[in-house]
Symmetry: C3
Subunit: 465 residues, 3 copies
Amino acid sequence: MAWNTNLRWRLPLACLLLQVLTVVLFGVFVRYDAEADAHWRTEKKIRNISSDLENEFYYRYPSFQDVHVMVFVGFGFLMTFLQRYGFSAVGFNFLLAAFGIQWALLIQGWLQSRQNGYIFLGVESLIKADFCVASVCVAFGAVLGKVSPIQLLIMTLFQVTLFAINEFILLNLLEVKDAGGSMTIHIFGAYFGLTVTWILYRRNLEQSKQRQSSVYHSDLFAMIGTLFLWMYWPSFNSAGSEHGDTQHRAVINTYCSLAASVLTSVAVSSALHKKGKLNMVHIQNATLAGGVGVGTAAEMMLMPYGALIVGFICGTFSTLGFMYLTPFLESRLRVQDTCGIHNLHGIPGIIGAIVGAVTASYATPEVYGESGLVHYFDFEGLKEKWTTKTQGKFQVFGLLLTLAMALLGGTIVGLILKLPFWGQAADENCFEDSVYWEIDEENSAVHLPEDPTLKPPAPVVPSVP
Amino acid sequence: MAWNTNLRWRLPLACLLLQVLTVVLFGVFVRYDAEADAHWRTEKKIRNISSDLENEFYYRYPSFQDVHVMVFVGFGFLMTFLQRYGFSAVGFNFLLAAFGIQWALLIQGWLQSRQNGYIFLGVESLIKADFCVASVCVAFGAVLGKVSPIQLLIMTLFQVTLFAINEFILLNLLEVKDAGGSMTIHIFGAYFGLTVTWILYRRNLEQSKQRQSSVYHSDLFAMIGTLFLWMYWPSFNSAGSEHGDTQHRAVINTYCSLAASVLTSVAVSSALHKKGKLNMVHIQNATLAGGVGVGTAAEMMLMPYGALIVGFICGTFSTLGFMYLTPFLESRLRVQDTCGIHNLHGIPGIIGAIVGAVTASYATPEVYGESGLVHYFDFEGLKEKWTTKTQGKFQVFGLLLTLAMALLGGTIVGLILKLPFWGQAADENCFEDSVYWEIDEENSAVHLPEDPTLKPPAPVVPSVP
Amino acid sequence: MAWNTNLRWRLPLACLLLQVLTVVLFGVFVRYDAEADAHWRTEKKIRNISSDLENEFYYRYPSFQDVHVMVFVGFGFLMTFLQRYGFSAVGFNFLLAAFGIQWALLIQGWLQSRQNGYIFLGVESLIKADFCVASVCVAFGAVLGKVSPIQLLIMTLFQVTLFAINEFILLNLLEVKDAGGSMTIHIFGAYFGLTVTWILYRRNLEQSKQRQSSVYHSDLFAMIGTLFLWMYWPSFNSAGSEHGDTQHRAVINTYCSLAASVLTSVAVSSALHKKGKLNMVHIQNATLAGGVGVGTAAEMMLMPYGALIVGFICGTFSTLGFMYLTPFLESRLRVQDTCGIHNLHGIPGIIGAIVGAVTASYATPEVYGESGLVHYFDFEGLKEKWTTKTQGKFQVFGLLLTLAMALLGGTIVGLILKLPFWGQAADENCFEDSVYWEIDEENSAVHLPEDPTLKPPAPVVPSVP
């Protein structure tokens, strides 16, 4: 299967077509939100706003920037762990996210905030677009090293669209709560990506096995991604929350959950190795599971100890997943999940959705305050007769629908990507940057002193018991 | 030309002299701004301010921190792409920026905000100082690898001064709009740096050619710089804008423009390679061109699709510049531009200045609101009779003046730096850290297993068609 | 001394026990602060707060995130400079900090903000917990490479507890001012860590000497840590300050001080080398000394030139310390200080404490405003009869007490850690990741082209004079 990986005309055409399309659609549909429009001076008077600080910008911009870092540096560098795929990890993530945010602004805007035929952009739109793209970055983790940039652009085009539809149904029709997107972002992204990689199954991938591992410094680069994801996750889970106590609480819950998942990841990682050694893959990934798991309930009155318990469980199961589930999925179910997204986003996402449903079901007026409960869950208007149990049920519907959408969507998109003319590499050339990147081979090796008798530092310890 | 690169007394003396000078000038002239002074408690009552949030600090501090990251990590790491010049890239950038911000606080403060003989520091001063230093970082890109740290300190001393004068003329006398500094920062920095490197032309630089390229991991380090610049550019272009809708709009425009330039950079980069492979240099640099190009008009009612078009054009021309213009400039015009700043800051800067002039010229009361137009362009007092066309004309004057200042200033500073006693390296020792840094050669090589028969992972794919 | 470094049961048990303990204590004691609780809607009306922006969250969240980055990426990557200890530097720092913040929330909450038996969490608690953990990260620098993760967890458990007690005595009983924690964080962390490493003296550590140095790329990784610490230090020193001018002023002072310490570090580093070459260790560390030194006085009316002078002095003495004091401490006093924390946190911390005491002593109503002086130093209630001299004296008491607590606490904890069953490595296996991390040796070496005749780029310049 020696596919043609020369993208000379296909990739430029794909990029330019998509970008021209976006420009045209932006021209027709997209305008500034009232709070970003020069008419704001008049608008302020109408709305009787005295301080510019009441502009939504000041409530959300710092969180937006943190989310932006997570999408581009966080996911980008997390995937640089492969020894010869760093350029593609960071570069293709950059490409797909840069296209994805534009497309998301259009589709999400069209579905959720169209007024008089126009889409109005403000800082909340930027956050929502970044959220949507995060879901594509998750899916990218499953197919990392096995797809061409054209396939990624196509996947982004479809996944963003399906994401927005699923999100619209969950948040606007089912009135589900999902602050940090355990369902809309993580479950959708994970099972979509896993289905795509299942369809794209490569029989002879072990021919690239040598390259499907890390080297010392590539693991350190990946830790840059891990840490920026970990540190900014409280911003992620709170970026779209309501002002005041809700944003505040989402931060605290996420902070706690993440801390706990670090300890249990380390514990399980060490317990699973016969000499008790830690595995870098677990530390890079499972430590983040707490952020995924607390996504749906981040805004809720989960209580700090509740958040710790969620992180505790997610860190544990995520690490176990890397150890036992990933090899099983690959050998038995033919799901080749490069980054183990099932362990970082799939399992913790499902835990998060269930935690959210349960926490909503058991919400009481004592804990939220009478007006707080009605306000937080919007038990007004059409939802006037809802109880917390109703909310809990709808949370479960949301979970199931998301799974269905992801599996169905992933199948269709997988089949499209399976077509042989997208420039994908042969099985023996996977996980290799030089397929798509100009690399000066002579220089790409790290240079050494010419004198071969020069003694290098001992690479291993003389005798570790 | 075996110059003496031993900086033992020259560098310490230069640093200490400049630092003592700065301390003395700060002692004589610099005080806290009213909003950072302990008298604020009284001041608040006088100004009838009820909330501490109305302190400028809360409007701007998050953006300031983002700009700070761009200057130190963004520019610093962007320049680590060279295989043996990472210490100098990050370290000298650190040094010149640390001195530059102090000097900029003095000169900008003296020119723009002196009151009763004092300079008053607040968060806006810190942002403006970082902006000014960004311009020096741009120029550093042109001379990277060819100058000593002493030359960089001298260049910073002069460039900051000239920058502040040019900025003062543009913003305060010509009343030009330049939110993100397409003119004041990028054009000035680029043409200043290019002129300096033209004066410092090195005939035998190809003797260092071997080191004037990247290795695999140095390119990944550079991507850290690229991404932090890209992600935080919306903060850069909005950091100094007016409160409310103006800051909000500058963020949206920059976000859009940057996204578009990623796609066109990738498109052109792939189209220019005979096998359609991407070039890391383009991805590291041209993807940022959208941020430069939208600098002047970032605050204006450019419309989101307008911002996309600007990014589209800048990404395209920037990549073409790397491919065709840089070699031409080097071979024909003797301009040795190490980082290709002409493509990232020069061309997109000029595009940005023109976009700004045109957008200002065609501003209408319908789009800005009657009061908004007058307010945004300050068509009051001395400017009462100005029309948007007048504004447009002055924008063009600003562009031309900036070019003249940069070329003239660059020539003078270049001639000063050409003097032979600043510790510059010989042509064959350029782009080499060990000239100015203690490097333990034995350890600086990446260590390897001692057994030479150990089979390393295949560095190239067996057969890429 | 071939200790058993197999942590298979010990590390998991330690992690799980500590995490279960934390969950239980959180369950019993920890609740949301009023501003993060769903009852906030009612609370707001009681407190007559009209805007959600008055929620503490919006005053502090951006600074909190910066501090968070400093703790996890800043300290983590700063310590990756060792050639074979990057995984442990980043990973163990991650582990201890993730546990430490939970424990700090409990102990600090219990001592400082317990109400009706409960601890209430808000964004200020998160900042204080990060501060506390920063102190443990400092101490980690002294013992880096020589302790097992279990020892680190035990050290964290005790150090966090002692830190919180010391902080309580200083801030709440002695009413000392210490915005950026020159005393509570840096002096305490440094002398605690130095005492621990003194107790844990390893006689034959030179057997690991080969690994106790950097390689080229590990030094670049460390610069990521340095720069994020440097850039976000203004947030650190201002994160806990009072709203308004105080936070604003703390940022300006820290910005100035840090800038000055870069120039003097470079000056002294170059002057100390016979060829005037810079030492990467100095640039990575001493440039940060200005942030430590201005910690106590950051909020005070130190004046910008005062901040510059502090940075000037700290950069100088810190670099001199690396050159002369560290070797002396090791050879004569048996203090093996891996990262040189005495130079970065010890000396500048003491300078900072003295600067704070002096600045407080000489505070005048002219400079602070009559009400400002009383307000800033809390000269009300029990402190009504205090003068600025009294404040100065108490600042000195705070310094002395902190030193005593650190030495005493360090001794006790050092003795506990000296017990032989914590999984520490033998002297010849220190500074080596593979003791505690699964490393695929074949892949951990950077791969090279197989052809040994391939000429690598010259690693050194042919003839540097």
